[in-house]
């Protein structure tokens, strides 16, 4: 009797597997993807830049200053703070901005770069430190996750390294 019950259960499970297979493209795949997307996961900040701390409004565009990103103890890379200029399509041909990175009310760096009309053109820019907590950097491009200037979609992303001890 037990063998028979097990056999029936096995075949029922096999038939269910077939049912699952047929429902994959219509229901299951999208359902799992939707549930996963709503589960509240975030991308690692070293890739995404972290979360926006504050937004500075300018004439026709915005400057988003992100929370500082600090690598975990054994993670590669340097700490950095991300600044995004959005939308890239509304930016003037030349950007020269003094930006308060830490939110203490005083500008920390002066950022300057040319905005190329062709989105594919590699970018280079300079960051001039306005206090001794930051380093002056010249010719920043898409060098590393923490020293970065490039157009990504309709925004220009700048990443400025932070001192490790900060």
């Amino acid at each position: 009797m037990r063998k028979r019950i097990l056999a029936v259960a096995g075949y029922v499970a096999a038939a269910l597997t077939l049912f699952v297979a047929l429902s994959v493209p219509f229901v299951l795949m999208g359902g799992i993807a939707k549930a996963f997307a709503q589960a509240g996961f975030n991308l690692a900040p070293v890739y995404s830049g972290g979360t926006v701390a504050r937004t500075i409004e300018r004439n026709g565009y915005r400057i988003q200053v992100y929370q500082p990103v600090r690598p975990r103890p054994f993670q590669n890379g340097e700490p950095f703070v991300q600044v995004a200029f959005v939308p890239a399509s509304a930016l003037p041909a030349q950007i020269c901005e003094e930006i308060d990175l830490d939110g203490y009310g005083r500008p920390d760096v002066r950022v300057s770069f040319a905005v190329p009309s062709n989105p594919q053109t590699p970018m280079r820019g300079d960051v001039q430190a306005l206090n001794d907590r930051y380093d002056t950097l010249t010719g920043i491009g898409a060098d590393s996750y923490s020293r970065f200037l490039a157009r990504t979609g309709d925004r220009i992303v700048l990443r400025i390294p932070l001192p490790r001890h900060d």
Binding site: A14, T17, L43, V46, S144
Partner: protein
């Protein structure tokens, strides 16, 4: 000593043409259902590709029904998948970004297509910090339709159906080495240390723990042989040059040279951590391969035919395969005594193996047609486009 049995030898007809066609009808309809939307909304290259692939998948299934064998026909599909996936993928990369290398700005903008190989490495960081350590996007975007959520959805749904059979019916990398393993008539290296089969578990443990500690997908950054035929971080410095060198060396060694020498899927059997991860799902999958001890004569042909060394003398004595069996059907097709059989857990081993095979194959082939079929169609369309342009 058992000879290096070839499960690909032609088998005598098993079913009548009419009955085989009848059994193929559901799969033909499924192929139509899967390819019709692409057919209706695509250009002429893709239409031809969809038609060719739908016919290809249906004919292979018919042959499985007609001959009663599985491995040979599945292998045609699987090798085609392994060959055509890089064709379509590389062509897309070159069209979008001009090269196979992924520049850092693409990673920052979340444009890296998600690869299921990363899945086991995501688990610990996601569980502890709700953070996904992959430079993609969670939801599909215009520039990256292969988002993390979409690919996790496909992987989990298919894993529920296939278990470890993912490695035989869905993985678009395994076909490359299966193709190389099929080329020589005989294996030059026949004796392989059985402890090699434990290596994927060790690598899985190492990359999962290291990824959790280093907060990056370590396997993808350092060890994935298939970066060579897909995409890899742009070589910018000594570190990225070393990474690329490792990818190429592993590809040439594990995916090309060793399969040619051993006639085994050496990357899958002795290296792939994702394969080890998928083995765990064999525990919950209802299908497996069993050995009927009343028929087995211990000839060793099943052990010899198994491409991943998932069968040992002890496991045959126990009537089972090892956990890493990927249900490719090589052992069943090579067994002249019909001792190796498809099986539904809970049922008698000597019961109705063909019923178990059919129940498994309908699900597995439906998945192969849905997922692999679209990849094949993309590859074929790319080839047609390339030939027509030149």
């Amino acid at each position: 000593m058992a000879s290096q049995a070839s499960p690909t030898m032609s088998a005598p007809a098993f079913r009548s043409v009419g009955r085989s066609m009848l059994l193929t009808v559901p799969m033909a309809l499924w192929s139509l259902l899967m390819f019709t939307p692409s057919f209706l909304h695509a250009g002429p290259d893709s239409r031809i590709a969809c038609g060719v692939v739908a016919a290809f998948m249906t004919v292979l299934f018919y042959q499985m029904m007609r001959t009663g064998t599985t491995y040979r026909w599945r292998r045609y599909f699987f090798v085609a998948l392994g060959l055509l996936f890089p064709v379509g993928f590389i062509a897309s990369l070159v069209a979008v970004r001009g090269s196979m290398s992924i520049p850092i700005e693409r990673m920052v903008s979340g444009d890296t297509p998600f690869c299921y190989m990363v899945t086991p490495m995501l688990i610990i960081p996601a569980a502890l910090t709700r953070t996904l350590i992959f430079p993609g996007s969670i939801l599909p975007t215009a520039s990256n339709p292969h988002s993390i959520a979409a690919m996790i959805g496909i992987w989990l749904a298919m894993t529920l159906v296939l278990g470890k059979a993912w490695c035989s019916y869905a993985c678009f990398f395994g076909g490359i080495e299966e193709g190389f393993a099929a080329l020589p008539k005989h294996a030059r290296i026949r004796k392989l240390d059985p402890r090699f089969r434990l290596a994927p578990w060790a690598i899985l443990l190492a990359v999962v723990l290291l990824s959790a500690v280093m907060f990056e997908p370590v396997y993808c950054m350092w060890l994935c042989p298939f970066k060579t035929v897909t995409e890899f971080p742009a070589v910018r410095d000594a570190e990225t040059a070393l990474q690329f060198g490792i990818f190429v060396a592993l590809f040439l060694g594990l995916v090309v040279a060793l399969p040619l020498l051993t006639k085994k899927r050496t990357q899958c059997g002795f290296f792939c951590p994702f394969g080890a991860f998928q083995s765990l799902f064999n525990k919950i999958n209802v299908f497996d391969i069993r050995f009927d001890r009343t028929k087995c004569v211990d000839c060793g042909s099943c052990r010899s035919a198994c491409p991943t060394m998932a069968i040992t003398a002890e496991s045959v004595r126990e009537g089972k395969t090892l956990l890493n069996c990927m249900k490719c059907g090589a052992c069943v097709d090579s067994c002249k005594k019909d001792a190796a059989v498809w099986h539904v857990k809970g049922t008698a081993v000597a019961g109705k193996p063909e019923r178990a095979r059919l129940l498994f194959l309908y699900g597995a082939w439906a998945m192969a047609t849905m997922f692999g079929g679209s990849v094949l169609a993309h590859g074929v369309a790319t080839l047609i486009h390339f030939v027509a342009r030149n």
